[in-house]
């Protein structure tokens, strides 16, 4: 099933895209599986997801753990830890 991916900050820069539509195989059940599947593409994806401790995700605008299921997801955002606010 097709899913829209959004990339932000350093992950967006490493991949060179702000987002894309993907159609992963059925074996891709969780966010971590999706990331492993993307890394197989090589190049920027390897660099973008090299440090999984600094990877965060949201499904349909809600923060989720990387072990979250993709079932029913329409849009998945992948990004580093947030750094808003000031001082």
């Amino acid at each position: 099933m097709a899913i829209d991916l959004l990339y932000f900050a350093g992950i967006r820069e490493a991949i060179g895209l702000s987002g894309e539509r993907v159609d992963p195989p059925a074996s891709v059940a969780r966010i971590v599986d999706l990331v492993d599947w993307l890394v197989e593409r090589g190049n920027g994806y390897v660099a973008a997801f090299a440090d999984r401790t600094r990877l965060r995700a949201a499904i349909d605008d809600r923060f989720v753990d990387l072990t979250a299921s993709l079932a029913g997801a329409r849009e998945i955002a992948l990004f580093p830890p947030v750094t808003g606010g000031a001082a």
């Binding site: 932000f8 900050a9 949201a58 605008d61 955002a77 580093p80 750094t83 000031a86 001082a87």
Partner: protein, 149 residues
Amino acid sequence: MSALRVLVQREDIDVGAELARLEALGGGGLASFTGIVRGEGGMAMLELEHHPGMTGKVMRDIAEQAAERWTLAGVTVIHRYGELRAGERIVLTAAAARHRHAALEACAFLIDWLKTEAPFWKKEHFADGRSAWVESRSSDTAATDRWRP
């Protein structure tokens, strides 16, 4: 029922007008925090990226949590995005309440929570052409954790 005002905007924040709006709600007082862009280490410009579909929802959720936790007349949370220079305002959190403790605590809660929960990312651009994404700090996470039950 608190008046919640949540904005994500490119433009500057008119702090005077925002505080006057909270004053007009008739509470006993208000507390506010204004975040200013620091210009340390030769930083020429701060780039603020955000997740447009998600930022407003998360900020509204943070404002609602404050309104549930304390008795407040009003809550204002405004965060800027785009390109900011040193000395510019980046964020405003403010809370109006009948009692000072509620206003002060809610204001601190809002800025602590915003820093670790709102989907913004900062990139520093330096005068010599270098640029680097700002890394999250464990001290910020600890500041948010102190509000958890």
